[in-house]
Symmetry: none
Subunit: 231 residues, 4 copies
């Protein structure tokens, strides 16, 4: 049983395909994959459908991507890159770090709730049990990385006296991120709400997030300045 079941065909030197680098086609394929994965999830998406959606032959798929899993990973990585840029620049675009924070919150919520981001989340979460590395990688390069950026921003604000000292900045950052998404992202993930939130909704939720976050960590200037005369 151990004997000859192993070598079978001598898997061939795996002639690392250097070919298949027409970026046009690659993009075409990712576009098709986007559609199909998004519409059906990882397992229910068939390479057949993807090939059809991309207007490419099934064989071509395998010229550009090693297998279904690699295609999927390439897809979510591409999307993440595209989106990361947008949101994280917002952090440094306002002189007032409090406004910058709120601004960032809105960007983030907008981004996370767009059609594709929600689909990607769903799929990655859906396969996380069987393909833990995909899940972990996605988490670390996505939510976790974002939280780290925020944590650094908060520390800067504390240093500048714009915020009260924060014992656990990492946690505070995550709290902020979760508050910004409260009531918005979760129903999207479960497909209980089928359209991205409106700008008004986003503004409302992020405002409330800011109010709560500042209630906790804001420096109470009014209290200080008001109190003295109260004496």
């Amino acid at each position: 049983m151990t004997e000859n079941s192993k070598p079978k065909v001598k898997p061939a030197p795996r002639n690392r395909r250097i070919a298949g680098m027409d970026p046009e086609k690659r993009h075409q394929i990712l576009e098709g994959a986007h559609q199909v994965f998004t519409a059906r999830g990882f397992d229910a998406a068939s390479m057949n459908d993807i090939a059809a959606a991309a207007n490419v032959s099934k064989g071509t798929l395998y010229v550009y991507f090693e297998d279904k899993e690699h295609l999927f990973v390439a897809l979510i990585e591409r999307e993440r890159e595209a989106q990361k840029r947008g949101a994280f620049e917002a952090l440094d675009q306002d002189a007032d770090p409090v406004r910058a924070l709120a601004n960032f919150g809105r960007c983030l919520v907008r981004m996370i709730n767009c059609e594709f981001a929600v689909s990607a989340h769903r799929i990655v979460i859906g396969v996380a049990e069987r393909m833990p590395d995909i899940g972990r990688t996605f988490y670390e390069n996505g939510p976790m990385l974002g939280a780290g950026l925020i944590a650094r921003h908060l520390e800067r604000m504390v240093a500048e006296g714009k915020l009260a000292p924060i014992a656990d900045p990492e946690l505070a950052a995550m709290q902020f991120l979760d508050l910004c998404q409260s009531s918005l992202t979760r129903p999207r993930l479960f497909n209980a709400v089928r359209t991205p939130p409106s700008e008004a909704e986003i503004a409302h939720v992020v405002n409330e997030a800011m109010a709560m976050f500042m209630a906790r960590y804001g420096v109470r200037r009014q209290l200080e300045t008001v109190s003295p005369p109260a004496l």
Copy 2:
């Protein structure tokens, strides 16, 4: 043949066996399904494996459940029922509503991060695109319903003067729930953290959640008690 071969006393209420309704078997099947779905996710779980895990023939599966999807839905419904009870009772078990809130938070986080709940979340989110009803139902009967309970509790607290007025209690409730899970549930969903959080971690995070929530909505007793003499 079933008729009168062994009259005994009474062969049980006769209508006992309408269409696959031996609750014993049903439970057995759900137990097996629990194992297999949990370990592999919806698509990768095979009816074969489920039948084997449940010690039942494949055919029997289809006597009790219309198909794979219905089996899965029945499973998550059963699990949700089992867990809802535990957590939501916590709300009324403490005379001090603030302590009750914190207590509830801990219960909830504990429950949501247990092995099965995480798996169920993953699976439901994973299929939400293809099976929107499953996703929506899960959301409405789970997170949304929980938030509703909390919202009512908050309103009660406001009415009792234990909290400052809350403009949007539904949102506040969700904020509270999200704060309690901050940094804990998300990495679990992505399988970036493979064990439920420790009690200490839960306590820490829920404490911080309470601190932030009370900073926003707590009645500022000091202010009140201090102010009067200021008059």
Copy 3:
């Protein structure tokens, strides 16, 4: 790269199929496999064709046999069993061990040159590079085992004074077997001769084999009995 390419789907406990033991069906499948493998060789035989030839669905194939390779191995093992019996009994069926040897030679050549045995040889040799264990096992349980039997028989003959002493009985046995097949088996293997040899051909070749073998190892009675008077 090493990370999540490995576990992929967690190969499932390999629920060792105890089922699929209707000997009727099994036989049916082997019959179909026989036809197709024989007509096309291992690689060019498709499971599809085999299923069709066996009048069985493709899925059923996999209920009875783990995969194509196992099906093939089972097939050649079955055939070998069937044939071994015939030939090796011939060794003990004649009181005269010399006649028994010739008799065995004829049986063996007949057997080895029948349609199926030739096909099986071709296929096994053809896959021996990629599936060395199939090749080795076939050799050891076939030709090598046969040679061993002959070697023992020769030793017995030597002990009984029917043959001159043999320094290397294993080699002598193989020489005998090869002589019996000379000019017959090889062209069959290469498909240069498309029908089994006639009985007359077999008799001729085996006679010549006996003549040569006895010239080498026969006790030279004539010489002995003639020589003395020559002194």
Copy 4:
């Protein structure tokens, strides 16, 4: 455009490049094909791998060879030519025809058991069912042709009084060839022995072959020289 842009001396005989006939490239391709066919067999060798091994584009393969089968045939033909030379010259290189015979035997066994010859045998035998022409041609130009040469040699020896009369020289030649390979070639074909036999093994087996062959067809010089006095 090819016409007169660089008159130079003479752009080479012009008809140099008819339809894929650069012998350089051809050789390159056959070299790659040798490697891949040898390592994997006919079916498991892919044109892709061959192109890679030959450092040539896949398309070029089809410029020089009609298809996979023709490429393979060209390959074994080339190899056979290369090897035939070596062995058959041995027949005429010794004044003593008996020693020449033994010498030829050793050459032949050495040649037939080298890595490539064994692979080629395996492959040709493996495809002989599906591609009878390949099998027959290989047999006729290889083993059969060799046996013919030996038969002629034997006849010469008989004529010269070096051997007793031989009723069926063709058969005797094959017997000789088979004896020389006894216990050596067959296990190699089945891959039960993975290295060519040592010189010592070859010498031993060929010695035994000669002993047996001469016992049958040698002129019994002793008898003859002894007999006269017996008169």
